[in-house]
């Protein structure tokens, strides 16, 4: 096992020497990888911020359940028992028709309601569902609509649907962008390693004659690709962080004009780690494909 570590240590040292030996090439490759990765990285960050903003501003949607005009107190109690048994429900509130009338009167419609001579409003329940999935809200409303003594169910979830659709679209776009740029980065690393193999052909041949195994020869290239990817990941992280620093104030000022308080947040440590690991993986993948393709011919 210690021999295994020693060989990897040698391979890392070898890869670092190669990276340090061509500083211009190393910096340019890291910039290419970093700038390309900062696009999906930044996109993900924007989506994350928008999602948290939407959650903060709008809260969770409610479902209003209006009972039949002829429903009695016993009917309301029976309905309440059924609501209690619903697992998708976080909480509910019973609004008797008298209370609803008082609320409307307090809202400035007292004269209009007084002219009617009777209370036209039904008893109602206001429900707060669990989670944020519009599909679940819709299912819940449909189920309750079929209950006896329920006259009308109002689900105000159109905006939630739109938001989720927009976020899903954004996520798909970011994923597609990440996939395309990731593929491009694999090609960049593939080509870099191909050139490395060509320039080290003599060393590879001599090593083979002296008893080097394929893993021994491949290892430094894997590390080279991985380290180049990691450097690119750090550049991407720096670019995203810089973008957040530059945009934070203008975005906050824009939010202020809408009467909202909004802070553009940079990537947390998990997101930062994910970006660097993703870049490292892409570098390793490009190296692995290139080594497999080109070492067989040396």
């Amino acid at each position: 096992m210690s021999n295994w570590f020693y060989l990897h240590f040698r391979a890392i040292a070898h890869a670092l020497r190669r990276l340090a030996g061509q500083p211009v090439g190393t910096v340019l490759s890291a910039l290419v990888v970093g700038i390309a990765l900062s696009l999906p990285g930044g996109g993900y960050l924007v989506l994350d911020n928008v999602a948290s903003l939407a959650r903060g501003v709008s809260g969770t949607p409610e479902i209003s359940v209006f009972l039949d005009a002829g429903a009695q107190k016993a009917d309301a109690e029976a309905l309440e028992q059924r609501l209690k048994a619903l697992p998708a429900l976080a909480s509910y509130r019973y609004v008797p028709r008298d209370e609803a009338l008082k609320q409307l009167a307090a809202g400035g419609l007292g004269d209009v309601l007084g002219g009617l001579g009777h209370n036209p409003l039904p008893d109602a329940f206001v429900l707060t569902p669990r989670g944020e999935d519009p599909e679940v809200f819709e299912q819940l409303a449909t189920e309750i609509r079929a209950w006896p003594k329920v006259a009308h169910v109002q689900l105000d979830s159109a905006w939630v649907k739109r938001l989720h659709a927009l976020l899903a679209l954004g996520r798909s776009a970011v994923l597609m962008l990440a996939g395309l740029l990731g593929f491009a980065l694999v090609i960049v690393t593939f080509n870099t390693i191909r050139l490395q193999i060509l320039t080290q052909r003599q060393e590879i041949e001599v090593s083979r004659l002296l008893g080097a195994t394929d893993p021994f020869i491949r290892r430094p290239f894997y590390w080279f690709g991985g380290l180049q990817g990691a450097l690119g990941g750090l550049v991407a992280l720096g670019t995203v962080w810089l973008g957040v620093r530059v945009l934070a104030q203008p975005v906050a000022r824009l939010a202020e004009t809408y009467g909202a308080v909004f802070t553009l947040n940079g990537p947390d440590w998990r997101a930062a780690l994910a970006i660097v690991l993703f870049a490292t993986f892409l570098g390793w993948l490009g190296a692995a494909i290139s080594v497999r393709r080109h070492l067989a011919s040396t």
Binding site: R10, V206, S207, L210, G211, F216
Partner: protein, 231 residues
Amino acid sequence: MIVFDEVAKRYAGGYTALAGVSLEIRHGELVVLSGHSGAGKSTLLKLIPVIERPTSGRVLINGQDVSHLPRAAIPYLRRNLGLVLQESRLLFDRSVFDNVMLPLVITGHPPRDAARRVAAALERVGLEGRGKEMPAGLSGGEQQRVAIARAIVNRPSILIADEPTAHLDPAYAADIASLFRSFNEAGVTVLVTTHDASLFAASRPRRLVLAKGLLTEDTRPTGRLAHEEAA
């Protein structure tokens, strides 16, 4: 022991380098293989570390048939052989020390012990204290000595050299020839190809001559082997 059993090698295009060679090389022998260019000397040598594979026949090393050795097993065979090629094949971006160190790095030798072995190998070829120099600053003979140090640093039991004196002036060539004799005296089986067998005459080697892919001469030295005499 190295055994060639009816070994033939034909290259793509139809060129026949070896046309059925059979011979045995015993442990501790010093064998000088000569012949004209294209006689098959290099091909015969390349069959031992499986740089080439025979078209027919078998090559056995210590009883193991290496003709059909799986690709993954070849490196482990080569680690037990010392290999000196016609050109020194040194890495010119690395120091003499690092060049000689390479076989020990490949086998994952502990660095401290490896450094001792490299120093000993350099001393053995007369290059003590010159490990920090770069190969480009050495003469052709010195570069070949570095290649020899690299070949012996793993303490192989078989040393194979393909025209190690080919591009050297006579004085350097004689030095290199005496080095191989000294390794043989230490018990190493040595197989050398050369155009000038007289360089090794003082060592009383076994002389093989190849012509057009066939073994035409096999002259064994009279008396005991060199390393037996030394003992």
